[in-house]
Amino acid sequence: MGQDERHYNINKLNMLFAFASIALLLAIMSLFMKDYDREWKDYQTQFRAMEVEKARVKLDKETLTLEAQDEYNELVAQLEKAQAEFDAKCALTDEIKASLKEVEDQAILVEQDYKFRKAELDALKYKFEHAEAYQEADAEKYGEEFQALSERVNELGLQLEVSKQALKAKEQEIKSCGEELKQLRRSQSKIAGQRDLLQRKLDSIDPAEMTFVNQIANLVRDLPVLDLANPNNKIEQVVLKDVTDNVNFMNVPKVERCISCHLGITNPDYENEVQPFKTHPNLEQYVGKNSPHPIEEFGCTVCHGGRARGTSFNGAVHVPSSPAQKAEWEEKYGYHQMELWEDPMIPLPLTQSQCFKCHSGETRIKGADKLNLGLSLIEKSGCYACHEIDKYKHWNKPGPDLTKLDTKISKEWAYRWINDPHSFRHNAMMPAYFNQSNNSDPVSLKRSSQEIHAMIHYLFENTQPFQQAKLPVKGNAETGEELVKSIGCYACHQIKPEADLVKTDIDNLRRRHGPNLIGLGSKTSKQWLFNWLKDPTRYHPKTSMPDMRLTDQEAADIAEFLSGDKNREFDAQPVPEIDVNILNGIVIDFLKRGLTDQGARDKLAQMKLGEKLHFAGEKLISQYGCYSCHNIKGFEGAKPIGVELTEEASKSIHKFDFGFLHIEHSKHAWFTQKLKDPRSFDHGKIKAPDEKLRMPNFEFKDEEIEAIVTALMGFVNTSTVEAKKVPRTPENLIKEKGQDLIAQFNCQGCHIMEGNGGTIASTVETWLKEYEGKTDNEAATVRDSFSPPNLHGVGKKLDPEWLFNFLHEPKQIVRPWLRVRMPTFNFNVSHLNSLIQYFQAVDGDAFPYKFDPDTKMTKEEYAAAEKLFSEDYFGCTQCHVVGGKLPSGSQDSWAPNLALARTRLQPEWLIEWLKNPSALMPGTKMPTFFDPDSYEESGPEDILDGNEDEQIRVLRNFLMSLSDDTPEPEAKAKPRPKSTTAPKKAAPAESNP
């Protein structure tokens, strides 16, 4: 072989080459196939088939309804007739065509001539102008030529007009013949427009309706490589200029491709289809073209998260909401977790969290119930005290003041309480620090007990004197109980143990605004309770507990009642002795932080027991961050201990320590675990006592955890949606501030505001049954009459001045029959002004503009009004209280004191109210005297000539003139208080919430 200058067998090389080439060919072909095979293409193909199906069904339906219409059938018949007529009469004969052509040709010739001359003229004009401007010799010549030519052009123009007119006439002649037919066609297409549209659509998408060539084309257009030209399957994308992705160096416009697979998302026809074709729920609110969040402007991932550019199931970083769904996806889509994307999709149950991105100012976001619940829980549990959250920066510490602690509770009670708060009260808001998963071993338990002793020692040592008044009278527990049940304590407190089955919702949380009052006898004394009830702010200046304006007797009764309930089990819990050895260990651990080992030991030897307790207590309070929630002497201005949560969910997943726990590595799973067992991430770690996790256990229920996690997932960096945030207009700010105050003072515990709240009504109902002897049905129907009023429309209704004074000090009794009391809240001037502005903003009323109409009346008018007011006509006094005069009707239907109308109500509003009360307050008991449907005939004919407008005006003026024996309200006497001239009782703005 060798000698012929060849080494390899050429045939073998050929074979090798052939095989290699074939292998390469196969490789390239599979490359094409791999590239061609995309999930979205399959979905689009499926979707087109569905579209065809749906269009067909619709078309059939439409055709059937059309054919059932006489009008249409008639039209079709007419059309046929007209067509026949047209064919017979107006068909374009050759003769007509020829004559038209002749005229046309003529017109074209003239036009051409005209255009040519015109062009020449324009050129000449320029030459002439130029020549004149530069004073050239032949300017004059050009001028003459120009004159001549322009005359010629004018002439031609006339000719042109004539010939055009002739043409038009000719055309008109031909056209007019078919006018009727055209008219008929037009009206047909008007009636059958929908069907024609469907037919047209079907023609373009349904292969069965296509011509053979188009069917072929339909196949070919989607073939590999050829699909570069004009494919059916296309990636659909929306580029959002002002909703961005953060790529760390800058924010770049989002490119949304979700709709390449979620093809029916905006089409209501696909409501019952499976994913990915299903219609988005609530199209009026989301995604729909006319919704506030249209897809073209908001896209999808701004709310749902995920990788907007992704065009495959995994590439879009879908996240399952349950293990079951995960398993299903794994099978169906080959789902796997994509770790390398920081913003995975938000699991569906938590989607509401993203509303917070743009609506964070609103206290309660409409339609986002779970998020609202989560936010409420955060407020109630006081998460914001240890963890800074922007939204709650100005909120008060959630726990009670501890600076006068010694007068309220005993050391033993304090020990038991700190050791296990939930054993005293099952739904205590105070979370548990001890007996948790990372400090329940025997050694830690012993240490814990000494830690508690040290902290209690510090707290009781650092108290201020607090003068307690003696009980002036002896209380009656039964009266006390009735009072508690009737005057409105139940708006914020509960007494009976709440069953675990009760679902946590916003209403229930309102009832838990203040602590549950069970077992108070074990906690504190009658005397302290009396003092507290008489004036809560004396003990705790920033408390949200209002003053119920109780008499001494009432306060004593309630104190008697509340202190009667004791928790024997709790009282029986042993309190261990102080153990100096363990205490020494605690002290030395803290000493070592600042001193050398020996120094610490020397120091310890010098300390007395009290000093040790004090030292350890102080350090421990700062370690556990007790001061974050409570006022404690020595910790004024200390920084909260928790991690800031304002942008918690934007933190990189790598920054969450999952420890040795085997849970899903996602933020929501981490939050859930943290709330379920806050110390669990210490599991399996060896840590010194002061290195251990400190977050206490709130013992949340599962649904509460989900709600809080929903809220937490919304705490993100919002630079990506800056442009889409709810605008910071003055009105919005006022509303938000008002809502914030309403949440802080739990106004909605009693009142319905913006359609929510009034949760006290159910306890009023119970009271009616228990004490007023009403049956179930009666109680249910009249309970609203005995509940605090609905505050709908208050901004337009009430006089701002009056409202200001009333909120500050509700002295005037508007509804004397009510047992529930409007308490005196600890509002400062800025609160009051904010609330009034809020009421007006909600009703769209301009503040502080006030128009005082003339309410003077002539004698006749007065007489007429009196008549209307009287029993003979409207009988106002049947329901309305007027000063000291109580109405004649049953208490269930009593209505507000009309003697206050003058100062309380806005005159403009009163007119509207008299005209049509239920338009202003749907479901009101106030009868409609002037039927809006037949307004002109509604008023009594014998008064003021039956002029309804006049009747209403005089009645209004009459009401505004009413007064009673009650003294003139002081507000009238004084000018409207500004924030500088605050009433005496109102605390200065900065000292209060």
Binding site: D4, I28, M29, R200, V225, L228
Partner: protein, 238 residues
């Protein structure tokens, strides 16, 4: 060949090309029957293999020719030749296909699946949104389009003056478009009647979508002077 290859001695190359021309038919001559009987080696020596011919051209030394001949004796050359051609053909066909594949790969790569340019078509509401005889300026700023409805049809006019590309103004009282740059004037239909504009305004493709909404597609233009305004795509009947 000598013409093509002037640097080579003409004599040699012509001689070679002659022999070249002779060779190809010969090996292909043996009928199918002989190939079925590859061992009859005597005959085969007559058939000249390319390597023998190489020898004859005199470039290669003798012994190699002899060697090649012996080789030809032992392994049936015409079978070799057939397999040679067969595999070579397969190989090159496949390779040609590969090249085609590479070509289409690059071709396809040049056309992305999505465009980031602003959309050239837009939705312009429903026909009933437009008043007969009015020029709607709703889409003038965003889409550079006037939408006009006359007694029988709706059409979309480009807002680009055909003179030098300024944007004319619609003067409602005078019922005309007037270009502020050089004073061209256009009727409501888009026909030019004054000033330097050489031709009427252009119209865009306009159609109705599935839901009855108007869709204007700016990629397709219709010019009056080309008689395109009669095209049914240039207007919709109202």
């Amino acid at each position: 060949m000598s013409k093509n290859n002037p640097s080579k001695p003409p004599k040699k190359s012509s001689g070679k090309s002659k022999s070249d021309k002779k060779i190809p038919p010969r090996p292909s001559v043996p009928p199918a029957g002989s190939s079925a009987n590859p061992t009859s080696s005597d005959d085969k020596q007559v058939g000249v293999t390319p390597s023998q011919l190489q020898g004859k051209t005199g470039i290669v030394s003798k012994p190699i020719t002899r060697k090649a001949a012996t080789k030809a004796q032992t392994s049936a050359p015409e079978v070799d030749r057939r397999t040679f051609v067969k595999w070579l053909a397969i190989g090159w066909t496949a390779f040609a296909a590969v090249l085609g594949g590479y070509g289409s790969l690059v071709l396809r790569y040049l056309f992305p699946n999505v465009l980031f340019e602003p959309k050239q078509s837009f939705r312009a509401g429903f026909p009933d949104d437009y008043v007969v005889g009015e020029v709607s300026e709703r889409y003038k700023d965003q889409q550079a389009t006037w939408i006009v409805r006359d007694s029988e049809k709706i059409y979309a006019l480009s807002t680009v003056c055909t003179h030098l590309g300024c944007t004319p103004n619609w003067l409602e009282n005078e019922e005309k478009f007037k270009c502020p740059c050089h004073g061209s004037g256009f009727y409501k239909t888009g026909i030019h009647f004054e000033g330097p504009a050489p031709r009427p305004l252009e119209r865009f493709k306009i159609s109705l979508a599935d839901d009855g909404e108007i869709v204007v597609d700016k990629t397709q233009k219709f010019q009056q002077e080309k008689g395109e305004w009669d095209d049914p795509e240039s207007y919709i009947l109202a």
